[in-house]
C-alpha cells in the first residue's frame, strides 16, 4: 500500500521540475528517531531530456510540535553552506516554508545512502578496529566546522552574530528560559548548575564560529572503513563560541556507557585532534564551563520533549523516550561534571 504522502510529494517535486515528465515517488517510509523532525526516505523517478532518472531522497518535515523549536531555513542553509567543503553533508534540493504542500514546512535533500548512523551498531563490536579512525575523523571535522568563516559561507545572512563576550549569556538565557517554560517538575541540580554558570562565566569566545549545536556520536554517518560520510541534524546550528560544540560532544550522556568521549576516545585525544584541525585552543576552564552548560542544554531538550508530550502537542512516544532515557542520566552527568558524583 502506497504511503499517503507519496502523491503529494510527487506533485510538489513535479512543480519544481517543469521539464520532467512521469514524476513518481515511491518506497516512502519514515526513518527511526527524528524527534525534532519527521524524516522519510523515498525514491524519485522521472523522465527528462529523453532519459530516465532515479534518485534516493530524504524528506525532513516539521512534526505538529517538536522537542526543539527551530527554523527550517537555518538547518537548510547550514547544510547548503557546507556542501562541497571538507565537512561532508548531503546536498539540499528544495526548502518549503509554507504549510500548503505537506501540511507543515519541510525540505528535500539527496540521501547519503549505504552508511550507518546508529551508535548501537558502531559499538556492537563489528567496527572496533576502525573506532580510532572514526574518532579522528569526527573531531577533525568538528575542527573544520570551527575553522570555517561564517561570513564566507554566507551564514551571517541567516544567523545572528553575537559579540564574543556575549555568546555564553545568550545560550544560557535561551536554555534557562526553555527550562522555565517547560519543566514539569522542579530541577534542583540543573538550577544549581545554572547558578554556578552565571557566577563563573567563561572568557570571551576566541572567535565567532559556526556552531553545529548537536554534534555527537549518532548525528553523523560512518562507513565500514571508519570514514565519516555525512554530518546530519543541523537544526540547532548558530554562530557562537566553538567550545560549545566541543563541550556538547563531551556531555557524559554521549559516552553511551563506554567511559570515553563520544564513546570513541579519551577526551585529551579528542581535544588534541580538534585543536590541530581548528587552529584554536581548548582552554580547560572554559571547556569545563561549556561542558556544564551543555548538561543544562541537554536537560532543557529532554524537559522540552516531556512537555511537548504532556501538553498533547505531539503524542508520538518518541517524545517520551528521550525524557525517560535521559532526564536522570543528564542529572548524573551534571553531578559528574560538577565533581559531586
Amino acid at each position: 500500500m502506497a504511503h499517503p504522502l507519496e502523491p503529494r510529494v510527487a506533485s510538489y517535486i513535479a512543480a519544481k521540475l517543469p521539464d520532467a515528465s512521469d514524476v513518481v515517488v515511491d518506497s516512502l517510509e519514515r526513518i527511526s528517531g527524528g524527534a525534532s523532525r519527521e524524516t522519510y526516505r523515498f525514491r524519485l523517478t522521472y523522465r527528462e531530456g529523453g532519459q530516465d532518472h532515479a534518485r534516493k531522497l530524504i524528506l525532513r518535515r516539521d512534526p505538529p510540535a517538536s522537542l526543539i523549536d527551530t527554523e527550517r531555513r537555518v538547518e537548510f542553509e547550514a547544510y547548503r553552506a557546507f556542501h562541497g567543503s571538507s565537512v561532508p553533508v548531503p546536498k539540499m534540493l528544495w526548502l518549503e516554508e509554507a504549510d500548503a504542500a505537506l501540511d507543515h514546512p519541510f525540505f528535500i535533500a539527496e540521501e547519503l545512502s549505504g552508511f550507518q548512523a546508529a551508535p548501537a551498531m558502531l559499538f556492537a563490536g563489528g567496527y572496533d578496529a576502525v573506532l580510532p579512525k572514526v574518532a579522528e575523523r569526527k573531531w577533525t571535522i568538528l575542527g573544520e566546522i570551527a575553522r570555517a568563516d561564517p561570513v564566507a559561507l554566507g551564514l551571517d545572512k541567516w544567523l545572528e552574530t553575537p559579540a564574543a563576550d556575549g555568546c555564553w549569556r545568550r545560550e544560557l538565557d535561551h536554555w534557562e528560559h526553555i527550562l522555565d517554560t517547560d519543566e514539569a517538575e522542579p530541577q534542583p541540580i540543573t538550577r544549581a548548575a545554572i547558578r554556578w554558570l552565571r557566577a563563573n562565566p567563561p572568557p570571551p569566545a576566541q572567535k565567532i564560529c559556526v556552531v553545529h549545536g548537536d554534534y555527537r556520536t549518532g548525528n553523523f554517518l560512518y562507513d565500514p572503513t571508519g570514514e565519516v560520510r555525512g554530518v546530519l541534524d543541523w537544526e540547532m546550528a548558530h554562530l557562537g563560541d566553538p567550545l560549545e560544540d566541543l563541550g556538547w560532544g563531551f556531555n557524559p550522556v554521549w559516552q553511551f556507557g563506554r567511559g570515553l568521549a563520544g564513546g570513541l576516545a579519551r577526551q585529551d585525544q579528542a581535544i588534541a585532534t580538534w585543536e590541530r584541525a581548528s587552529g584554536l585552543v581548548a582552554d580547560p576552564a572554559a571547556l569545563h564551563w561549556w561542558m556544564l552548560f551543555n548538561c543544562v542544554k541537554g536537560q532543557g531538550i529532554w524537559v522540552g520533549s516531556a512537555r511537548t508530550f504532556i501538553d498533547g502537542g505531539n503524542r508520538d512516544p518518541i517524545m517520551v523516550y528521550s525524557a525517560w532515557w535521559l532526564l536522570n542520566a543528564q542529572e548524573r552527568a551534571m553531578l559528574k561534571v560538577m565533581g559531586k558524583l
Binding site: 519514515r30 522542579p186 534542583p188 504532556i310 512516544p317 525524557a323 525517560w324 559528574k336 559531586k340
Partner: protein
C-alpha cells in the same frame, strides 16, 4: 517518571494497534516495535519501586527541610506531586545556604540530591 507512566502506556497501546494494521511499511512497524519495547522495559523496571522510592525521597526531603511529607494517598501521581512541592522548597533552601555560605547545609543538600539521582537510575542509563 515524567511523562507519567499511565499516559504513555495509553499512547503505546494506540501505536501497537496502528502498527498491526495491514499496509504499514516494514521499517515503520519495526521502529514502532523497537520504541515500544524500550519504553515498556523502562516502565517495567521502575514500576515496582516507584512508590517506595517516592516515599523514601519525600521523607528525606521533609527531614532536611523541617517539613512533613504527606502520605495519606499513596498513588504514584500524588506522591510525585508532593515530591515536586518538596523539591521546589529544596531549591529555595539551597539558594539560601549558598547565600549564607553554609557549607554543612550545602553538603547535606548535595548528599540528598546525589542519593535521589541514584534512586532514579535505570539500568540502561548511558551515565
Amino acid at each position: 517518571m515524567t511523562p507519567q507512566v499511565p499516559s504513555v502506556l495509553i499512547e503505546l497501546a494506540g501505536l501497537m494497534l496502528r502498527s498491526a494494521e495491514p499496509g504499514v511499511p516494514d521499517g515503520e512497524r519495526a521502529n514502532a516495535l523497537r520504541l515500544s519495547a524500550g519504553l515498556l522495559g523502562m516502565a517495567a523496571e521502575r514500576w515496582d519501586s516507584a512508590a517506595d522510592n517516592l516515599v523514601r525521597e519525600n521523607r528525606a526531603l521533609a527531614a532536611l527541610l523541617d517539613d512533613t511529607a504527606a502520605e495519606d494517598d499513596l498513588r504514584v501521581s500524588v506522591l510525585g506531586a508532593e515530591n515536586a512541592r518538596l523539591r521546589a522548597r529544596l531549591i529555595e533552601a539551597q539558594i539560601a545556604a549558598e547565600q549564607a555560605g553554609d557549607a554543612a547545609r550545602l553538603d547535606a543538600i548535595w548528599a540528598e540530591l546525589v542519593a535521589s539521582t541514584e534512586r532514579r537510575k535505570i539500568s540502561m542509563a548511558p551515565v
